[in-house]
Amino acid sequence: EAGVAQSPRYKIIEKRQSVAFWCNPISGHATLYWYQQILGQGPKLLIQFQNNGVVDDSQLPKDRFSAERLKGVDSTLKIQPAKLEDSAVYLCASSPTAGTVSYEQYFGPGTRLTVT
């Protein structure tokens, strides 16, 4: 079974530029999560989708971050314009259904973003 795929693995941009990250969850997984992991900290949830609907985006900085999950499969996370403090690893995770006890979240390898 293929795992969660993310691209690119690394990205360097200048502040005020825009950037987009892509995530392909495990086939059949209804729920998709985006986390931001700043250096030296644990991951923080940005947004959770169930199929193509948003379940939780309470910690997403909506003035500059946006995310979509068209057709309930792949997802894209965008930052526009980027700030220095957005430098972080962006992790995507998926699980078969939302909140079911016995299902864990499977994480992708992450995208490391550096904003200069």
């Binding site: 729920t31 999560y33 986390y35 030296g40 900290q41 644990g42 991951p43 923080k44 949830l45 959770q48 169930q50 379940v55 939780d56 309470s58 690893v89 992790l91 995770a93 939302a98 909140g99 079911t100 006890v101 864990e104 979240q105 994480f107 992708g108 390898p109 992450g110 490391r112």
Partner: protein, 118 residues
């Protein structure tokens, strides 16, 4: 809101020895899950062990076991017979129990960097 605290930024242990990583959490919920994740330099987050709050028995997975103290809101991870491959960042995480389509994102601590000395 729930919080997760890991008070040990770094721990070091000799190969084959036992080490315990600490975690405390704060929540007003009574039904939830606790996890330990391992993150090697490759950045891939790997589930090590899971504990359901309603279970009194501590979870065990091979060399990994937990000490879950619900009243004290404490959740420590014990690694026995440490191996070089155990070297990584370890994160404690919390998730409240699903109830009708609600959000279930993980809340993580800041992590503990585990060093294994040969």
């Amino acid at each position: 809101a729930q919080t997760v605290t890991q008070s040990q930024p770094e721990m070091s242990v000799q190969e084959a020895e036992t080490v315990t990583l600490s975690c405390t959490y704060d929540t007003s919920e009574s039904d939830y899950y606790l996890f330990w994740y391992k993150q090697p330099p490759s950045r891939q987050m790997i589930l090590v062990i899971r504990q359901e709050a309603y279970k009194q028995q501590n979870a065990t997975e091979n060399r990994f076991s937990v000490n879950f103290q619900k009243a004290a809101k404490s959740f420590s991870l014990k690694i026995s017979d440490s191996q070089l491959g155990d070297a990584a960042m370890y994160f404690c995480a919390y998730r409240y129990r699903y109830s009708g389509g609600g959000a279930d994102g993980l809340t993580f601590g800041k992590g503990t960097h585990l060093i294994i000395q040969p």
